[in-house]
Each structure stands twice: as structure tokens, then as C-alpha cells.
């Protein structure tokens, strides 16, 4: 794999951009599809596998403009339909194509509150970029307009050029909203409710805000400074930020309403319950849930071995079980923590892997070894209860299952032993049961996901929920989409309350005048 330096990519883009700008008036759709899709400048894989700095460096202005010129501004707008928050994608891209970044970010922010984050972590290839007309014309989804990278570009441009302005906050309404969990769903609800002038308290169980953005997604994919910036914005808007507060334990959810007089509560506690597969040896020393491994490395800063008090296991050969983004994050983090060999063991093939394509590519570039059509049957320990190997089984693809993916079928007698000293289990997360256990009135399904109606309202009066606690482990953007919906419903409900109170007050006043 060849590595393209940012300087080279920038120089090439500059020359091309000048050429295309000169004949811009005559550009036909076909000409636009012939503009080369821009390559994301990345840190050199040989260097980045030993550091925590961000892997993708972001488009340069020239690259962004050139990439934006590839957009056909088609009438169908499949991209908008496939976006969970329906960003006006052709609209903002058109502004980038004309070098008007300020207008572009304005359009993005009409619907997306956290574009710097979404531009980095959204699975664009299965959302906005999936049915892009350019990708279709070139018969390759990888050749679609790089919508996510353009979104990231304008968000970074706004932040880095100091143009970020605080959203308008309406005068205080006297209404109180409690937001439980400071992950993507909670951040959006906090911002949207605060804008309407309500008093908003954001509760976080950990000592730092950000939820899964902080403890889960590694620094090399989403820098903490970006999360800090979003939290600082909320703080400046007047959102009350409370860490080290576990709703359900420090205070019951019902107490927030009854004792602390919150007028609305949003539950956005996420999918914080690691799933283990129940195979033999999962409790051995050296077996971790991806949540534990990543929390130690990210939130507790164990990557900084000199300063951090929280230890991280020192590994030589690591097996990561699973094929999603969390598995990719764990594998790449293990490499950065000093592991010599990291295997990702996945039951199906690369085509079925749920991880973002870009993450899989980055992992490969960093030397992560993929073992497809294999599964760990049991984990084997030594006399000290420490992992020393795993027993694997080989699989082949059979008929498609209900999800449409071809079902892996085990090959009998194909067992073999693979030497490893660490196993990271990244096969998914369930719903954290803390709130539902301590709030029996709250209706949940069999899996523990909170049940909501079309407006994200739960079975409890004045209580809403959204994100992974409702969806099960999903994506940042879906959580944000649910947050937006919930905030709109909360704001409606509170507006209605205010109108009723106002009418009642007027009546009292009128009656008083009559006397």
C-alpha cells in the first residue's frame, strides 16, 4: 500500500482545481464524474501505529472544493433521504464547490449539531454515500462523493478558523429538563432544549463528559479535543454539567421528577453492558470486554503509561473477537499499546463485516491480521489462570439467513490452537440495566431496551428516551437523530405546559380585576 503525503495530495488538487475552475461554466455531469475522487490525507501507517494522534488528517481546502465539484446536484437527492438527520447535502456541497465554506457549515448545522463528530464516525458508505448518483455512474460506492469528509472539512474549518458562534439561547422559561447520559443522544437533547430557554442539567456517571464518544471511540479516530469543544459549547450556552452522578443510584429517576422538580427527563444511557459469548475460559486473566479495554485506554488514559495510574494489560499476541467498529478500535488500540501481533477473528467474510470500510482499511494498513471464517470455541489458560491460547474453528459460508447475509457454517473437525496472551471480546453490547432495574414503571423489551413511541416518549409521563438504550448498539448518528426527535417532543410538551400555565394565570388576573 502506497502512502500519499498531505503535501503531494494538496499540490495535485491545487493544479486540478485551477484547471476545473476555469471551465466551470461548461462542466457537464459526465465531466464532473471524471474529476478524480480525492484521497483522504492520512498519517503514515508505519508511524501512526505507534501513536494516538488522529489517523485521518482531513481534506485541504483545495481538495474539499474539488471533491465538492464532483457532486452532480441531482434532483433525486438520495443522499438526503439516506441521512438519519436529513442534512441538505447537495446544498452544503454546492457552497463548498464555490469556496463558500461559511454558508456550507450553516446549512449542515441546520440539521446536524455535531458535524465534526459525525463527519468522522458516521458509516457514510451505508448511508448518504450508498445511493449517490456519482457512485452509481461509476459503478462503485467508493467513488461516491465523499460527503462525510466534506462535512468534517467544513466543521473543522469553522472551528479552526475561530468562526464558531454560540447558538442562540432563548430567554429562560423556568422549565427544567434532566438529560441522563452525555453521549451523542444526550448532547443533542441538552443543546436543543437549552436553545428553547429551558434549564438543562446533563448528568454523567463517569468523571468526564462525552459517554461513548469519550470512553469508546479512540483518540486516533475522534480526538478528545473535539469532544471537549462540544462540551464547552454546552457549558457556555448555560447547560448545567454534572459528572459522577449515576441516575438510578445517586438519585432515582422518579426523584428527579418528584423531588427535584424536573419537568422532563431524557434517558440516553446507551448500550453499556458488554456481551460475552459464554465460551469456556472467558473469565481467565487476559480476557477483556472491548468496553473495558477501550475505557482503560481512552477515558482512563492508560495509553499514557508514564502518567496514568490505571493499568492496561501488556500483550504480545492479541485476538479480537468480532467484526464491528468496536472490534476495529480495540485491535488498533492494542497495536498502539504495544502488541506485536493482533488478530481480528470473525466468523464471516470481509463482505459481511459491519465495521466502516475505512476503519477496516486503516486496520489493515496498520498491520492488523484478519482471520475470516474462523471463530473461537474456547479460551485456554495456563496454571496461573492466564490466557495462553484459543481454540479456533473454521467456517464456510452457507445459505443466506433472515438478515440476508450468508450464514457461516462450521467445518467439523477443523479445530486448531492459536497461541495468544490476550483476548478482547467485541461481539456487541446490551442495554445498561441500571435505570430500568431501579425504575420498575419504565417499560422495556426482553433485551432491556426502553420502549418508546414515535416521539421517543417512554411508558412514563414526562420521560423520554433515545439512542442505544432504545436501539440497542447502533451508531452515533442514529442516536443523534433520536435525540433531535426527543428534544422536539420535550420542547413541544413544555411549550404546551407554559401556554396552559399562562392561560390559567391570565384567568386568575382577569378574575381578580373583575372583583
Amino acid at each position: 500500500m502506497t502512502h500519499h503525503s498531505k503535501d503531494n495530495l494538496q499540490a495535485e488538487a491545487k493544479v486540478l482545481l485551477e484547471a476545473y475552475l476555469q471551465k466551470e461554466d461548461q462542466l457537464k455531469a459526465k465531466d464532473r464524474t471524471h474529476i478524480p475522487s480525492q484521497i483522504m490525507p492520512n498519517q503514515d501507517p508505519l508511524i501512526r501505529r505507534y501513536n494516538l494522534e488522529e489517523v485521518s488528517l482531513g481534506f485541504t481546502a483545495e481538495q474539499a472544493q474539488l471533491e465538492a465539484m464532483r457532486c452532480l446536484q441531482c434532483i433525486k437527492k438520495n443522499c438526503v433521504l439516506d441521512c438519519p438527520v436529513n442534512i441538505n447535502i447537495p446544498g452544503f456541497i454546492n457552497h463548498i464547490a464555490h469556496g463558500n465554506f461559511e454558508e456550507a457549515i450553516k446549512i449542515v448545522k441546520e440539521t446536524s449539531l455535531l458535524p465534526a463528530i459525525c463527519g468522522r464516525v458516521c458509516p457514510q458508505e451505508s448511508q448518504c454515500q450508498l445511493h449517490c448518483a456519482v457512485g452509481k455512474a461509476l459503478k462503485n460506492v467508493d467513488q461516491s462523493v465523499a460527503i462525510g469528509r466534506l462535512e468534517r472539512f467544513v466543521a473543522d474549518w469553522e472551528r479552526e478558523s475561530g468562526r464558531k458562534v454560540l447558538p442562540d439561547v432563548k430567554p429562560p422559561t423556568g422549565k427544567k429538563v434532566a438529560v441522563i447520559g452525555s453521549g451523542p443522544a444526550g448532547l443533542v437533547v441538552a443543546a436543543d432544549c437549552k436553545r428553547e430557554g429551558h434549564h438543562v442539567t446533563l448528568f454523567e456517571a463517569f468523571h468526564k463528559m462525552g459517554g461513548v464518544l469519550r470512553y469508546g471511540i479512540p483518540e486516533f479516530r475522534l480526538p478528545n479535543s473535539i469532544i471537549d469543544e462540544e462540551i464547552a459549547t454546552l457549558n457556555d450556552m448555560g447547560v448545567e454539567l454534572i459528572t459522577n452522578f449515576v441516575v438510578g443510584r445517586t438519585r432515582k429517576l422518579t426523584d428527579l421528577i418528584e423531588k427535584d422538580k424536573y419537568d422532563a427527563v431524557f434517558i440516553g444511557t446507551g448500550a453499556g453492558l458488554p456481551i460475552f459469548s459464554g465460551i469456556e475460559g472467558e473469565n481467565l486473566v487476559g480476557v477483556f470486554s472491548a468496553n473495558e479495554y477501550l475505557t482503560r485506554a481512552n477515558l482512563m488514559r492508560a495509553y499514557d503509561k508514564e502518567h496514568a495510574d490505571t493499568p492496561i494489560f501488556s500483550s504480545k499476541i492479541v485476538a479480537v473477537l468480532g467484526g464491528g467498529n468496536v472490534a476495529m478500535d480495540s485491535a488498533r488500540m492494542a497495536k498502539r499499546m504495544g502488541a506485536e501481533t493482533v488478530y481480528v477473528i470473525y466468523r464471516r467474510t470481509e463482505n459481511e463485516m459491519p465495521a466502516r470500510k475505512e476503519e477496516v482499511l486503516h486496520a489493515k494498513e496498520e498491520g492488523i491480521e484478519f482471520r475470516f471464517l474462523e471463530n473461537v470455541k474456547r479460551i485456554i489458560g495456563d496454571n496461573y489462570s492466564c490466557v495462553n491460547s484459543v481454540e479456533c474453528l473454521r467456517y464456510e459460508l452457507g445459505d443466506p439467513d433472515e438478515s440476508g447475509r450468508r450464514k457461516p457454517v462450521e467445518i467439523t473437525g477443523s479445530e486448531f490452537i492459536q497461541e495468544v496472551d490476550t483476548v478482547i471480546v467485541a461481539i456487541g453490547n446490551g442495554s445498561n440495566p441500571l435505570i430500568s432495574q431501579t425504575t420498575p414503571q419504565l417499560k422495556v423489551n426482553r433485551k432491556g431496551n426502553v420502549l418508546v413511541d414515535g416521539t421517543q416518549k417512554t411508558s412514563m409521563d414526562r420521560v423520554f428516551a433515545g439512542g442505544d438504550i432504545v436501539l440497542g448498539a447502533a451508531t452515533v448518528i442514529l442516536a443523534m437523530g433520536e435525540g433531535r426527535k426527543a428534544a422536539a417532543a420535550i420542547n413541544n410538551m413544555l411549550l404546551h405546559d407554559i401556554q396552559i400555565e399562562k392561560a390559567a394565570l391570565e384567568e386568575v388576573c382577569n378574575n381578580a380585576l373583575d372583583i
Partner: protein, 296 residues
């Protein structure tokens, strides 16, 4: 920047109110934490940090609480870097992170005749449980053990609760010279066996207490203190095998039926980071000496 220095009621939080050294390495602290004081029940714990940037999250059992003062009491033994740092905090100092109460509370009932066994620092978490059991009308026998007389804590407090108090030391410097399992076995051999045993102490002690009571079929509740990160069920680092099922100590526990706990696996898991912890401690002690030299 966003520290939660005040509770919902506006009282200051996380301030050390009182500190006392109970024995060579054991400290008692009262910390202002009105919300935790109000909610906590016997058997629950907190997680604290002495530094919320690079610090470690350590779980400690709540030894007592005072709702009038809005405070909780913790008792801890200095074993590593974080506990050493904590022992250097003084009244008026602010703890950057304190969260709780966590874990399920102890099931308190009138069981009849109960035996509470506390080993070393384990006497601290046992104290509120013994008190609650006494208040619920149980006949409470307390067995306290320590390596020697100096390491024995809360004798006066336990004595005021206990219907019977047995003290054992490994070296015989106080009370009986034996392990706690010996008087426990004697109690199990009596005609009227204990209805319930609560054992809290080092993992090895809890293991052997459970082994002692098993042949007599006396239900034995143990309180596990495993390695934890978040304490809310999110990481699974604290998992233990209980009756061949994986349980999370932070949300399913910390108390379990001692006859069903796989103690050997738990002890192995507790030692996972031993060498790192020892190295951190060594560096920390050396740095402290250097600081002192600079000051001198």
C-alpha cells in the same frame, strides 16, 4: 472546569470533613456527600479518584453515613499509589471525583442467629451490616480477625453491637491466637447452628470461611472487592464465576453466596496488574522522597 462541587441542595460536596488514622496503614475519613449519604444502604460502595485526569477509579465500601451532616465514612488501607495519595488528603481538601452509592444493598432481615466475620480492613464494611442486622432483631455474634493487635480496627464499635464478640489474631498478641475460621467452625458445630454467616475480608479469608460453613450447610454471604473501572456494569472487569455463571460484582453484587463463588479465579483476576501496581507504587514513593529532598 465542570466540577460538581455542590449537591442539588447547594451544600458543598466531596470535602474531607474528618480524618483519623486507625492503625499503621488504615485511615478513616468522613467526606461531605449529602446525596450519597441519603441514598446509601449497608453493603453499598463508592468509587473515588484522587485526580480526575490520570487517576485511577478505586471502589471503597461505605462504612457509615450521617444524613444530618450529609457525610459518608470510608475506611481504607494504604496498599498502592491511589490509597497512599488518599491518605495524604486532609480535612478541608476536595476529592475531585466521588460517585455512588453503587452495588446492591445487603438484604437485611431477621434471620435469627447470625455470625459476622470480619478480617483486617474487612471489619469496616462489615460494621454497617452488623448494625443493621442487630437493628432487625438478630442475635449477632461478631468474629474479628487481624494479623496482630495493632491492625485491629473498630473494636469498640463492634463491641457495642455484638451479642458476642470473638477476637482472633494470627500472632496471639490479642484475643485468641487462631484464624477466624476456627471460632466459626465451633459455632457451626453447636446444637443451634447459625442461620446465616456474613464474611468480609481478604479473598482467601472469605474462601476459607465459605469452605468452613459448607459442610454444615450454613448460608454464607461474602462481599467481593474485585478490580473495577466504572462500577455501573459497563466494562465487566469485575466479573466473577458464581455457580458457573458470569456475574458482575458492581451491579449484581458485591454480595454473593460464598458457597457458589469461584474464589481461585477471582484471586487470579485480582492479581492481573500486580507488577504494574508495584512499579507505580515504587515510582510514586521515590518521587515523594525526591519532592521532600527538594523541600529540605
Amino acid at each position: 472546569m465542570y466540577r460538581f462541587a455542590f449537591s442539588l441542595k447547594g451544600t458543598p460536596m466531596n470535602i474531607i470533613i474528618y480524618k483519623e488514622q486507625l492503625s499503621k496503614d488504615v485511615f478513616l475519613m468522613r467526606i461531605s456527600a449529602p446525596l450519597i449519604a441519603e441514598e446509601r444502604l449497608p453493603g453499598q460502595f463508592i468509587i473515588l479518584q484522587t485526580n480526575d485526569d490520570y487517576g485511577e477509579r478505586i471502589p471503597l465500601t461505605i462504612a457509615d453515613a450521617n444524613t444530618d451532616e450529609g457525610s459518608i465514612t470510608i475506611i481504607f488501607q494504604v496498599v498502592g499509589k491511589t490509597t497512599t495519595e488518599l491518605s495524604r488528603f486532609n480535612p478541608g481538601d476536595y476529592l475531585p471525583a466521588l460517585v455512588g452509592p453503587l452495588g446492591k444493598p445487603t438484604h437485611i432481615d431477621n434471620f435469627g442467629k447470625v455470625v459476622c466475620v470480619g478480617g483486617g480492613i474487612g471489619v469496616a464494611p462489615l460494621h454497617p451490616i452488623a448494625q443493621a442486622l442487630k437493628n432487625a432483631g438478630n442475635h449477632v455474634t461478631i468474629i474479628m480477625g487481624a494479623r496482630n493487635k495493632e491492625l485491629l480496627i473498630l473494636e469498640k464499635e463492634m463491641n457495642s453491637i455484638a451479642d458476642e464478640l470473638v477476637i482472633c489474631t494470627d500472632d496471639g498478641s490479642y484475643g485468641r491466637k487462631c484464624l477466624v475460621t476456627q471460632p466459626l467452625e465451633e459455632l457451626c458445630q453447636q446444637i443451634i447452628k447459625p442461620d446465616m454467616v456474613f464474611a468480609i475480608g481478604p479473598p482467601v479469608m472469605m474462601k476459607f470461611c465459605s469452605l468452613t460453613t459448607k459442610p454444615y450447610n450454613v448460608f454464607t454471604q461474602v462481599s467481593l472487592n474485585t478490580i473495577m473501572v466504572d462500577g455501573t456494569g459497563m466494562c465487566g472487569g469485575c466479573r466473577v464465576n458464581v455457580n458457573n455463571e458470569v456475574k458482575f460484582v458492581c451491579v449484581d453484587g458485591p454480595e454473593f453466596d460464598g458457597h457458589l463463588v469461584d474464589f481461585d479465579n477471582m484471586i487470579a483476576r485480582l492479581n492481573a496488574y500486580k507488577s504494574f501496581e508495584q512499579k507505580k507504587m515504587k515510582c510514586f514513593v521515590e518521587d515523594s522522597f525526591k519532592e521532600k529532598e527538594v523541600l529540605l
